[in-house]
Point group: C2
Chain length 300, copies 2
């Protein structure tokens, strides 16, 4: 019987330990010694806190193919570093201008803007160094496929492109399709990459990869819709970051379009879609099933 | 007989065409369509202008192993994208606060700060997508080695780490060793990666790779020292960017330490070191020899 709380807590612990291990001056890739201030900022922006949902998705997808938690960790760390760098850059004054993240000062508040920009750049780069390392997977074909997948999920056609669309959307008027495209890129693309990378670690065949991609795309939509609902309903205290921001910024979400009740109904349907995409996998996909349900049920 | 001007001009043309080809919305990696504004900013920050010295080093190192110009191009584009992203981020108000680059408005001036941050992030990410693509090299072992090399050259232990040290140096007092370490990382690490990536494309054995690394490290020192000398001696008009900035910012360079005459003597010695590291390679290394000489002789 799959235990989501236990698996999730174990993932949080191993990601924390894994990031802490990589993010020391001596371990960071490059010919020279990383500046101490840079390493501190990278640690501030990635350690302590965070639900580590993307590494959890990597390990849960990998588990379908009997890949161990340990073997799925490096790829999970790479995805999490991308997530963390994106938060550091998103929090900058020129972007969302946030002072608080996970209940602590954001990197540019704890350090300064230049350091935050560089810490983000360094985390982004380190993510690819981790994937290229033989400890990530013994087969170079798999490692290079992971690099391609993470770049696709996080680049101009993925996360960063979605962030750009989000900023543009604050100025213009967005259709429901525009919002869906923006969210599929901004949040969905990295979730999609996490699931697919887990599948790749396990040597998934094209059919399994396609089913897991369908799962991931629905799970990503569920995650974002739940986030938009929480922005309206949750308190800042529970979230550890500012809430009510979307409405305050005049930002258009599916919740502002559909209303809260309709949005909640949609959320249930999307979670059902995600779970139905897993039907061929049996109990080894219980982890992914539980995470899709968690996305909809979470309170923060 | 090797013709530096012709090879360099050809490299500028093919890098320009190659970047323009990759940097269209349809070609950028990811599940969604890249936002037009993001693509425009990526193009503004990387097309038209730039001496393309790093792709030139990739092709020249690769030429030692009979790798064609065409086959060396994708790796060269990846290195150039890293260089261009670093300029976009360095120019930001929180960093060097430059309004002018290559005689044109910097990306945050032509667009805005948020767009410049994202365009830099997207170029960084796209560089790794290019290396992971089979068109870069047929052997996944080589592609994954290129990813590792570029990440090492550009991350916390390389270029970004050097940038952090440079910022710290504006506040404290730097020894000559501190300056050398900072410059070896900030400028040297990416030049080193470019040369080594060219060697890797050609399947260089460890001995050849080691000799080329020695060349690259000396060439990188020559490049930076020449840059510091130009900052003192050249006009803004010739450089297409602000000069005299180092002294204005109280920034410590080897020129401010050694004086101009001593710095010029050092430069000649370093170029001689670079060229002597190539002694086993014969005429196929004439490209790299010419570039080392060019680094010292360039007027902008």
């Amino acid at each position: 019987m799959y235990d989501f709380s236990a698996d999730s807590a174990d993932c949080v612990r191993s990601v924390e330990a894994g990031l802490s291990d990589v993010l020391t001056g001596a371990r960071l890739s490059g010919p020279g010694p990383a500046a101490e201030r840079l390493v501190e900022a990278m640690r501030h922006g990635s350690l302590e806190g965070g639900k580590r949902l993307r590494p959890l998705l990597v390990r849960q997808a990998a588990a379908i193919f009997s890949v161990s938690r340990e073997a799925a960790l490096p790829a999970g760390l790479a995805v999490e570093m991308i997530h963390c760098y994106s938060l550091i850059h998103d929090d900058l004054p020129a972007m969302d201008d946030d002072a608080l993240r996970r209940g602590r000062p954001t990197v540019h508040k704890a350090f300064d803007e230049a350091t935050a920009i560089l810490a983000g750049d360094a985390l982004l780069t380190q993510a690819f160094a981790i994937l290229a390392d033989p400890r990530c997977h013994p087969d170079p074909d798999v490692r290079v496929a992971l690099v391609a997948e993470l770049a696709a999920g996080s680049g101009a056609g993925g996360m960063v492109g979605g962030q750009m669309r989000d900023i543009e959307g604050e100025e213009g008027s967005f259709s429901e399709t525009d919002i869906a495209t923006m969210q599929a890129m901004k949040t969905g693309a990295l979730i999609r990459a996490a699931v697919r990378m887990g599948a790749m670690l396990g040597g998934a065949d094209p059919r399994a990869l396609s089913a897991l991609t369908a799962y991931a795309e629905a799970a990503g939509r569920a995650f974002q819709l739940a986030d938009d609902i929480l922005d309206v309903t949750a308190t800042q205290e529970a979230m550890g970051k500012a809430t009510g921001k979307d409405a305050g910024a005049g930002k258009q979400t599916l919740v502002s379009r559909l209303g809260l009740d309709e949005a909640r109904k949609n959320l249930d349907a999307i979670v059902a879609d995600a779970i139905s995409a897993l039907r061929t996998f049996g109990p080894r996909a219980d982890g992914l099933r539980a995470t899709a349900r968690y996305f909809a049920a979470r309170k923060r």
